[in-house]
């Protein structure tokens, strides 16, 4: 499955990147392809392109704040969870997707 994700937290110093790392490892373990965009103190990094979004089966928003430029994702199925969920139980998120 092709998955895209966005992580963002209030300070954008630590958790945005920890969650991104966590989602990447877990997706790999589940055998999915994933690209994670981080919206942190350095701004948007690893930005999801139009192609990325068009080809994605599903988008995960692991965020505690508003996702920047959300309109890009119109037409994509989105699962939104609190960022902590991506740290605590990333497996749950992917299990839900498979269902």
């Amino acid at each position: 499955m092709k998955i895209i994700a966005v992580t963002a937290c209030p300070t954008g110093i630590a958790h945005t990147y920890m969650a991104a790392a966590r989602l990447e490892t877990t997706a790999r373990n589940f055998g999915h392809e994933i690209k994670v965009e981080t919206q942190g103190a350095m701004g948007i990094e690893n930005k999801l392109t139009e192609d990325d979004i068009r080809q994605a089966h599903i988008a995960i928003f692991a965020v505690d704040i508003e996702v920047e430029d959300r309109d890009r994702f119109n037409g994509v199925k989105v699962i939104q969870v609190p960022l902590q969920e991506a740290l605590k139980n990333p497996e749950n998120i992917f299990a839900k997707i498979q269902r």
């Binding site: 110093i13 630590a14 920890m18 790392a21 981080t38 942190g40 103190a41 350095m42 902590q84 605590k88």
Partner: protein, 837 residues
């Protein structure tokens, strides 16, 4: 005046009015209050605030000249009167106790810290110094006799203050005594006393009622400064009562016999001085204000003090053990094991910070490529020298002596001067002290010299130019300096030299003083070094001849630059013409220093140019041997010098003198500033392995303290609260026994990573509900200067999700292994160790 017509301007106004026989009435049109312009008390009681309109009515035999003098005073002198009293350091006031104490449920009572430090002792409550209403009889039968007693008492009190003034050399002490003297000489005070006595009251009763009248008046003033002066009135009234009834009628304030914290509504300076210094550990006052004389005294005696502590006398119980934290601004009324533990840790932190700090400032100032620069202090009293040497001064580059000569009715005696210079020599303990002989001219008023006012005092009769006329005064100063030179390494420097003749005359005067001392068999240093100030450009073009006559030079950039550009520093209309960073001036300084060095002589700089951190690259480019600046600035200068490369500085300087104007030089310096490397993100000082902290609060506090010890924060409270603000969103415990507290704050000096490993895990509300034993803290400086660090931090955050990375951190043995490992993992310099995963 922004703080209204307060005591000092009022006393100067009254001084002018008192030179004339005419009556002078001052009316505040805002509140209709009228005052006798000859009375300081009267003027300040009229409560004249910023923006109030006032009228002055003058009538009498010399009213015409009186009006002229008053007008001149209001137009010229009055705006200069608003300089605040020395020493009111900015009070850091926190409104919440530290988290560790908060978590332990400790009560804190807040106040404004006006003298820093931490004190512990038993509460001793001192009552307000009430005027003893029952001394003597309230009524008297012979008003004339009572009037004589009052007059005698006033004279005696004034005399005693004048006497004390003669022996007081501490500048704060002098200011307090002078204010007391003004109060004791006030015409309104005398009038009120007379009025009471003539109405049949006894001298004592008259003092009591007069005191109450004025205290009440001042206490209702809108100005905090004037409200605080009521304690001074009280002081004078008490002294008057002592005179009327004899000293013994008053009991000392209280006897202390164990470590004590004195709690009072307010303390008169006399009361404070009467307390036994051995046992006085801390002061808590209900009354607020940092300019009261008690506050100034507490600061100069180094006693921790809080003011503005409401109802302190009601809530504190005599005999209870309390802690006064005048660093943070609160007191703890009841001690407990948690409080003891907190302050034990706090004391260790303060000791370690002091130790780290003193190691750094004791080192000489050397650039990274090995160029040494002496960093001296400017001072004008021996008291300032203690701070200067505590801050790591290599010597005193400029000891001004004008203060000793100003503000006195008569010239200071040789003995008084000797006492001052001797104290300076002893305090310097072998380090050099350059004493500049008096630099007085038409712009400074010295009654006993009778110097005429001049139209253009800066180009007039001043500095060494007046020495020929005041040979005796110069001789007594030179003898005093020479005698004190037997006790230390004193050097003599002449101000405002413009010709070789002046140097020769100055040296002849020194020879004569030496001969006098030799004849009397008094000891002095025969080879005492003699130098001159370089303040007049003419000196720069006769340096060869000057170097043959003197041992050293000190560049006074304030005057030198204004003579160089022919622009008055105080005149905003020509301010643009005037800058010490002008390429022409820089080139001039370089040539000057080069020529002095060619002759093998020493040259320093003691003007304001030397006291600006931005100028350091220029200072090295000019090639000075020494800079001399205010004592408080020295540690920061030493720190910055260590970061510079002299070769870079010389390069910058060479480009600066090629610039076309000051702006181009400024741009060049700003660009240079940005190239300077900030403190590294990783530092062993921020790695704490084997921590014994027991709670989350203690862990965060311990890391914040490490920042403080390492000099990465000066505001621990702000850093701590920034970290807790992030924790409030949700816990930073990320599971696996790890937590990553983080924040973005202006309270730190550099982006930093700190690591703390606990002996016993503590609760952190982690996502997996397990306690944590490893803390990796990230602190980002706001505003962000180097965005590359954010890259480092995000890499670190990602790595923390890696099992191997975490496991390695858990078992690393030493702080240096931690920083090496992290540096390597994060791609930072210094990561060259082997054995990393």
């Amino acid at each position: 005046l922004s703080s209204g017509l307060h005591a000092r301007p009022a006393s100067q106004l009254a001084e002018v009015a008192n030179q004339f026989a005419s009556e002078c009435a001052l009316t505040n049109l805002r509140n209709g209050l009228m005052a006798n312009g000859k009375s300081v008390l009267g003027i300040i009681s009229a409560d004249i605030r910023h923006g109030d309109r006032c009228t002055v009515h003058v009538s009498g035999p010399d009213e015409h000249s009186a009006r002229g003098a008053l007008r001149r005073f209001v137009e010229e002198a009055l705006p200069q009167c608003d300089v605040p009293l020395a020493g009111s350091s900015s009070a850091i006031r926190s409104s919440t106790p530290p988290r560790c104490l908060q978590a332990a449920g400790v009560d804190c009572i807040f106040g404004a810290p006006i003298s820093r430090g931490i004190a512990q002792g038993k509460v001793v409550i001192v009552g307000r110094m009430a005027l003893p209403t029952h001394v003597g009889t309230p009524v008297a039968t012979d008003p004339q006799r009572e009037l004589e007693r009052i007059k005698g008492a006033l004279t005696a009190v004034r005399q005693r203050i004048v006497e004390k003034l003669k022996y007081s050399i501490n500048s704060n002490g002098v200011a307090i005594l002078q204010a007391d003297l003004a109060m004791a000489s006030d015409v309104s005070l005398a009038e009120k006393l007379t009025e009471h006595v003539l109405s049949g009251k006894s001298a004592g009763q008259a003092v009591v009622e007069t005191g109450e009248f004025f205290i009440d008046l001042l206490r209702h003033s809108e100005s905090e400064y004037i409200r605080e002066r009521s304690a001074d009135i009280e002081e004078i009234c008490l002294q008057l009562l002592d005179e009327v009834y004899g000293r013994d009628t008053r009991k000392p304030t209280c006897e202390l016999c164990e470590p004590s914290v004195v709690v009072a509504e307010t303390l008169a300076p006399q009361q404070l001085l009467e307390l036994d210094r051995r046992w006085l550990k801390g002061i808590v006052l209900e009354y607020s204000g940092s300019t009261s004389h008690a506050a100034i005294l507490a600061r100069s005696l180094g006693i921790p003090a809080l003011v503005g502590v409401q109802n302190a006398r009601l809530v504190l119980t005599p005999g209870d053990e309390v802690i006064v934290d005048a660093n943070r601004g609160f007191l703890i009324p009841r001690s407990s094991p948690a409080v003891q533990r907190y302050y034990e840790r706090e004391r260790r932190t303060l000791d370690r910070r002091k130790e780290a700090w003193s190691r750094q400032i004791e080192e000489p100032a050397v650039t990274s490529d090995g160029k040494r620069l002496e960093v001296g202090a400017n001072a004008s009293s021996p008291g300032e020298l203690t701070l200067a040497f505590e801050n790591g001064a290599d010597g005193v580059g400029l000891f001004r002596t004008e203060m000793i000569f100003l503000g006195l009715a008569d010239a200071p005696s040789e003995e008084k001067q000797f006492a001052i210079y001797a104290e300076a020599a002893r305090t310097a303990n072998g380090r050099p002290v350059i004493i500049r002989t008096f630099d007085i001219g038409g712009d400074k008023e010295v009654p006993y010299l009778n110097l005429p006012a001049e139209d253009n005092p800066f180009l007039g009769y001043r500095g060494a130019r007046v020495y020929a006329q005041y040979q005796q005064l110069l001789q007594s100063q030179l003898r005093a300096i020479l005698r004190a030179s037997a006790l230390g390494q004193l050097q003599i420097m002449a101000p405002m030299i413009s010709s070789l003749e002046e140097v020769l005359q100055f040296k002849a005067a020194i020879s004569q003083a030496k001969q006098d001392l030799t004849r009397k068999g008094t000891a002095f240093r025969p080879d005492i070094k003699i130098g001159i100030m370089v303040e007049v450009p003419s000196v720069a073009f006769i340096l060869g001849q000057m170097c043959a006559e003197v041992d050293f030079f000190s560049i006074g950039t304030n005057d030198l630059s204004q003579y160089f550009f022919a622009a008055d520093r105080g005149n905003p209309k020509v301010a643009e013409l005037f800058s010490v960073r002008h390429p022409g001036f820089l080139r001039f300084l370089k040539q000057l220093v080069a020529e002095i060095h060619q002759a093998g002589k020493w040259v320093g700089m003691c003007g304001e140019m030397a006291a600006d951190l931005r100028h350091l690259p220029l200072i090295f480019g000019i090639g000075l041997d020494e800079i001399s600046l205010p004592a408080a600035e020295i540690p920061e200068f030493k720190k910055q010098i260590a970061k510079l490369r002299a070769a870079d500085c010389e390069d910058t300087f060479d480009r600066a003198i090629e610039c076309r104007n000051t702006k181009e030089v400024d741009d060049l310096l700003n660009r240079k500033q940005r190239l300077q490397a900030p403190a590294p993100v990783l530092s062993e000082e921020l790695v704490l392995l084997g921590s014994t902290s027991q709670t989350k609060e203690e862990v965060i506090h311990e890391i914040v303290d490490a920042f403080y010890i390492a000099g990465r924060t000066e505001d621990r409270h702000a850093l701590e609260e920034a970290l807790w603000a992030r924790e409030a969103v949700y816990s930073t415990g990320l599971g696996y026994g790890f937590a990553t507290p983080h924040c973005k704050t202006a309270a730190i000096t550099a982006d930093s990573i700190a690591v703390l490993r606990l002996n016993q895990p503590v609760e952190w509300n982690s996502v997996d509900r397990e306690p944590v034993c490893m803390i990796v803290l990230i602190a980002l400086r706001d505003p962000e200067t180097e965005s590359r660090h954010m890259q480092v931090f995000s890499t670190l955050a990602r790595k923390l999700m890696n099992d191997e990375f975490r496991e390695h951190l858990l078992k690393v043995g030493t702080a240096s292994e931690v920083t090496t490992f992290l540096a390597r993992q994060l791609g930072l310099p210094g990561g060259r160790a082997e054995g990393d995963p």
